[in-house]
């Protein structure tokens, strides 16, 4: 567990930044890769080394940072949605409805998709929780953050090694 502590710390930071609107808008896809780099630096500091950093270790740290960021980020997102009964998806609903209207599919299919989304939006407005939304964000965050964390870990280890060589 101790060897994944840097990933947990950096992942927690990235998870928090995931739900802060300003940083979310400014840093886009950079939060998780930067957290992975931070995890590598933390690991080096905790071990008191400054030399070559194993690429595989960097990738694993990055991957775990992404996974922890996904778990923490999803938890905070669900928790804040539960308290505020508000979410980005509520604002995006109208836009998505307009978008779906332009797609050449039968009206029945369109209505089905819109009603599915409306169920999620109504559920969030009423209770602050939607199972479909919760599953969807956990799944999405796990996939996207693990990929970007892995990339961040690789780039971080490479840059660190290039700097130290």
């Amino acid at each position: 567990m101790k060897k994944y502590l840097p990933a947990i710390v950096a992942g927690f930071g990235a998870g928090v930044l995931h739900v802060v609107p300003l940083t979310k808008a400014l840093t886009c896809c950079l939060v998780v890769p930067l957290a992975a780099v931070a995890a590598i630096l933390l690991e080096q500091k905790s071990e008191g080394t400054s030399g070559h950093f194993d690429i595989k270790r960097g990738a694993i740290l990055g991957l775990f940072t992404g996974l922890f960021a996904a778990l923490f980020g999803s938890f905070f997102d669900i928790f804040i949605t539960f308290i505020t009964k508000n979410n980005d998806i509520i604002f995006a609903f109208n836009e998505l409805t307009e978008m779906i209207d332009t797609i050449p599919v039968s009206d029945e299919v369109k209505e089905e998709v819109i009603s599915l989304m409306k169920t999620v939006v109504d559920s969030i407005k009423d209770t602050g929780f939607s199972t479909l939304y919760a599953i969807s964000i956990i799944f999405n965050n796990l996939i996207v953050n693990s990929i970007f964390g892995l990339i961040g870990g690789l780039v971080g280890a490479k840059i660190l090694n290039a700097k130290n060589s």
Binding site: C29, S50, G51, K56, G58, E95, I103, L154, N161, S165
Partner: protein
């Protein structure tokens, strides 16, 4: 062909070399894994175009839209259009992903495999300058400019880190 990478750890006072000897080149199917992952990612953000071919895949659209909103601001006016269909990420991101895809194909074809750190930084500079200038309002956002600068960064970035990606799949022997 055997490649030897040499590193000199700074924490040791005596000169130490860590030679990582790569046993063999990655097999073809390993070389195409990153290309396939990037291709699937590209298919995902071109879903509006896919929808025109398979309309019933509309059920995936809200899910994918949220998925890409995690990695891109997806501002409507900055979205890139392919045959009149908007992508689910902005023009800059489209450039980055297409650039990575292009480089991954070059690597499969063994056309260009290595890039120095200086070249990588040089090719990243246009994107950084474009982001800075558009953010400061020195000139307006241009989708083409964003696409080109993104493409440069994506292609250079993938070539820069692909050795490390392949190392993950390969057996290595560390001789210190």
């Amino acid at each position: 062909m055997v490649k030897i990478y040499t590193y000199s750890p700074q924490n040791l006072f005596r000169f130490t070399k860590l030679k990582i000897k790569l046993n063999k080149k990655p097999k073809f199917f390993l070389r195409i894994i990153p290309t396939l992952i990037i291709f699937i990612w590209i298919i995902g953000f071109c879903w509006e175009l896919i929808l025109s071919l398979f309309p019933n895949s509309i059920y995936l659209l809200p899910f994918l839209k949220y998925n890409y909103s995690l990695v891109c601001h997806i501002e409507t006016e900055k979205l890139f259009s392919i045959f009149g269909y908007n992508t689910l990420v902005c023009s800059r991101c489209v450039g980055i992903y297409f650039g990575s895809f292009f480089s991954s194909i070059l690597i499969i074809a063994r056309a260009n495999r290595y890039i120095s750190r200086k070249s990588f930084l040089l090719l990243s500079l246009p994107l950084l300058l474009d982001v800075t200038f558009t953010s400061l309002g020195i000139y307006g956002y241009s989708k083409i400019m964003a696409l080109i600068t993104g493409f440069l960064l994506g292609s250079a970035g993938f070539i820069y880190i692909h050795v490390e990606i392949f190392q993950l799949f390969k057996n290595r022997k560390a001789i210190s």
